[in-house]
């Protein structure tokens, strides 16, 4: 009995020790002095083991290129889950102070979230600033912090376009809509002609697509005005315009709001329930694998525009970066690995052609081997070329909040829910604004509305 008591007492002490330890953070904000070339050379020749978390299938091919060039460095590729599951693991590992990788795949929208918690290493000391022109401009803004920090190297992107069923459009005499007004008219016409078909499905669980559409409309939902303050503007005029547009079409019943990437959604795509998919540049390859029965029927076009005749604009949905994680024992090797993976000509080309990642570098986006592809699934249309063009039209200023998970979760339960319930989207936007600002204040942010 005494032994039991002593044992549990010891454990308690252990717990207490554990929780005092996790507040210590490494420096993240101030720029460290640049690493000397000699140090870099030395680091790349010292036998080192790096752990790389990513969910890109078969990325080992590109990792091997790096290992061949720098035989001293051994990179272990770990698939710790796609998106949120990986971030959850990363967070717990960072909190626990062990088990975190050296390099991790981080999506653009999560960079402020992880840089706020000082989980990412600023890459400027390792020569990141010189690589600015390698990447598409808007992607570079996405990885740049408030004080000029570079938090990761862009790996792939998701500029948004519209994939549409040419056969359905032809059957009902619908022209490819150029503006959102035309799109709304087409939605009504199509659904009236065939009640089983919707012009599109705006998934009520897909904050990513929604943010992409906001992005296209020029909304500025979040502005990070400093490390401890944030501007939240989720129910301003632009957001309300986009919100009432989609909320209206959904309430009218001419656009569906089914959850996406579910069995039912896959079936719906295969069976032609949706005549378009407003998706990102990774969508074409994804669809090819998921809706085989519709081969040859799809085409790609840019998103409809809010203004006719103006300059074409688009938003982005998805895409990620390779970031170096705080606590790595080999920051130089890790940074150089992330750099190689996403800038080496052979590696980036392979990523695009074999892993089907939509390129973030200007060079690959201009490479005929990539843009010249004419997949049969799209009736021989050069879809990559279309999306490469769209990539240039993505607005450069869009920003993400430093607490993305919470913002997305609250969106699901307000705006997304209003789509599913066909209820007032405008009120839902107000509620979203309220929830997010409450949360931010609770977390100690200075919030500007």
């Amino acid at each position: 009995m005494k032994a039991v008591k002593r044992f549990s007492a010891a454990l308690l002490v252990l717990c207490l020790a554990a929780c005092t330890g996790d507040s210590a953070g490494d420096d993240g904000g101030s720029a460290a002095p640049p690493a000397a070339q000699a140090d870099i050379d030395k680091a790349l020749q010292t036998p080192t083991k790096l752990v790389f978390w990513t969910w890109v299938p078969d990325i080992q091919k590109e990792v091997t290129l790096f290992e061949q060039k720098y035989p001293a460095i051994d990179v272990e590729v770990v698939n710790a889950g796609q998106g949120e599951p990986q971030y959850t693991k990363l967070r717990t590992a960072l909190k626990a102070g062990s088990g975190a990788p050296d390099v991790a795949q981080i999506e653009f929208q999560y960079i402020p979230t992880f840089s706020l918690t000082k989980s990412l290493v600023d890459l400027r000391p390792y020569g990141a600033e010189a690589l600015k022109d390698t990447f598409v401009d808007w992607t570079w803004n996405q990885v740049t912090g408030a004080n000029g920090e570079i938090w990761g190297y862009p790996q792939d992107t998701g500029p948004m376009g519209m994939l549409y069923r040419k056969d359905i459009f032809d059957k009902h005499g619908i022209a490819v809509p150029k503006t959102w007004d035309e799109f709304a008219a087409a939605a009504r016409k199509l659904h009236a002609a065939d009640p089983n078909v919707y012009l599109t499905n705006l998934a009520s669980n897909q904050n990513g697509a929604w943010m992409g559409l906001l992005w296209q409309a020029g909304a500025k939902p979040f502005t990070n005005t400093g490390p401890e303050s944030v501007t939240v503007s989720l129910n301003d005029d632009v957001s309300k315009k986009v919100g009432s547009y989609w909320g209206g079409l959904i309430a009218e019943g001419v656009v569906s709001a089914d959850a996406d990437f579910t069995d039912a959604w896959y079936q719906a795509l295969n069976r032609g329930k949706y005549a378009t998919w407003l998706t990102a540049a990774w969508g074409p390859v994804f669809l090819t694998g998921s809706a085989k029965s519709t081969t040859g029927k799809w085409r790609a076009a840019p998103l409809p525009q809010w203004q006719s005749g103006g300059q074409e604009v688009s938003g982005n949905w998805g895409g990620s970066t390779s970031a170096v994680i705080t606590g790595t024992k080999n920051p130089i090797a890790a940074a150089k690995f992330a750099e190689f993976l996403n800038t080496d000509p052979e590696s980036t080309k392979k990523l695009a052609l074999e892993q089907f990642l939509f390129p973030a570098t200007k060079a690959v986006l201009a490479d005929p081997a990539f843009t010249g592809q004419k997949p049969e699934f799209y009736g021989g249309q050069a879809v990559n070329q279309e999306f490469a063009r769209i990539s240039d039209t993505v607005d450069k200023q869009f920003q993400w909040p430093p607490f993305l998970d919470q913002a997305v979760n609250d969106w699901d339960e307000t705006v997304g829910k209003s789509f599913a319930d066909k209820s007032d989207t405008s009120a839902a936007l107000d509620e979203w604004q309220k929830r997010v600002t409450d949360y931010a204040k609770n977390q100690g942010f200075k919030v500007n509305e």
């Binding site: 009995m1 032994a3 039991v4 044992f7 549990s8 454990l11 308690l12 252990l14 717990c15 207490l16 554990a18 929780c19 507040s23 959850t88 967070r91 706020l116 918690t117 009520s204 669980n205 490390p227 401890e228 089914d258 959850a259 990437f261 579910t262 069995d263 039912a264 079936q267 719906a268 069976r271 329930k273 430093p402 607490f403 998970d405 919470q406 979760n409 699901d412 339960e413 997304g416 829910k417 789509f419 599913a420 319930d421 949360y439 609770n442 977390q443 100690g444 942010f445």
Partner: protein, 289 residues
């Protein structure tokens, strides 16, 4: 006995050691955590019972607790009735192929909740799920399994599917423990199978039923995997506060409010203890009356 008492400790020590390390210690740690408040900006500060007072005023938590209470009231009687009926039927000797039934009903227990929810989620599909397809052929509207009104029932169905077999086996085992001469004596007295079941078997099952009931209280209030996995199919119906456990999970992993999540978990534990004792108390009183 007293001289052997020391050996008693020896027997229970291994279990208690692991118990202390794997249950008591983390629990103590969680209790400790629940007294603090950590902000993304500003770090960790001691907060006393602030997390608890916040939880008691948290509407979403209360909604979740009431929802699982409703779930408990709908699902558990149904599940236990099915388990009891199956156990009695299989034990009655009146059933053909009793062995097949016993195994068939028990098999879902061997299916992980992850797989069970995946399967039912597909069957529930509102557009192309088999039930929707059948309804379509009959010219009926598809049953809205994943709608706001039906969701709790649909979830109850999954949990019932998973656990009838488990409870049945517990009850069946208890039935086998009833001395058979009791039945024989009753049969000699002219009692039929139904009568024997009603007046001998069911009373004998009372302790086992109570056990199943307590487990069901705990299971209902801790409902997690099913809502979490169904959330993907019906995101607008199942929000992050749908069940208290899901809420605690979301708080900890999405909102990064580990401290508040710990307090919520503690309160949830308290609710479960109270509910369990209420069940014990009510059924205890009824058995005496």
């Amino acid at each position: 006995m007293n001289t052997h008492a020391k050996s008693g400790y020896l027997f229970v020590a291994p279990f208690l050691l692991v118990f202390a390390a794997m249950l008591v210690a983390p629990l103590a740690y969680a209790a400790y955590l629940s007294l603090f408040r950590e902000q993304l900006i500003g770090g960790t500060v001691f907060a006393g019972f602030e997390n608890y007072t916040r939880a008691l005023q948290d509407d979403r938590l209360m909604d979740g607790v009431l929802r699982v209470a409703r779930f408990f009231v709908i699902q558990v009687p149904l599940m236990l009735a099915l388990s009891l009926a199956s156990a009695l039927a299989i034990d009655s000797g009146l059933l053909r192929f009793a062995k097949v039934f016993r195994l068939g009903i028990f098999i879902p227990y061997a299916v992980p909740a992850v797989v069970a929810t995946l399967m039912w989620g597909y069957l529930y599909g509102p557009d192309f799920g088999p039930f929707a397809q059948l309804a379509g052929k009959l010219g009926l509207p598809a049953p809205p399994f994943l709608s706001d009104d039906w969701m709790l029932g649909s979830m109850a169905n999954i949990v019932t599917w998973e656990f009838v077999g488990y409870n049945m086996i517990i009850l069946y085992a208890a039935l086998r423990a009833v001395p058979h001469d009791l039945y024989e004596a009753a049969a000699v007295d002219g009692a039929g199978a139904w009568r024997i079941a009603w007046s001998i078997k069911i009373p004998a099952l009372r302790p086992a039923l109570l056990l199943c009931l307590i487990f069901s209280v705990i299971g209902s209030f801790q409902l997690f995997a099913e809502p979490q996995l169904l959330q993907r199919l019906a995101p607008s119906v199942i929000d992050s506060g749908y069940t208290p456990n899901l809420y605690a999970y979301t708080l900890a992993f999405t909102g990064q409010e580990v401290n508040y999540a710990a307090a919520v978990s503690f309160l949830l534990g308290a609710v479960i203890v109270v509910a369990s004792y209420t069940v014990l108390f009510v059924s205890g009183r009824r058995s005496r009356s």
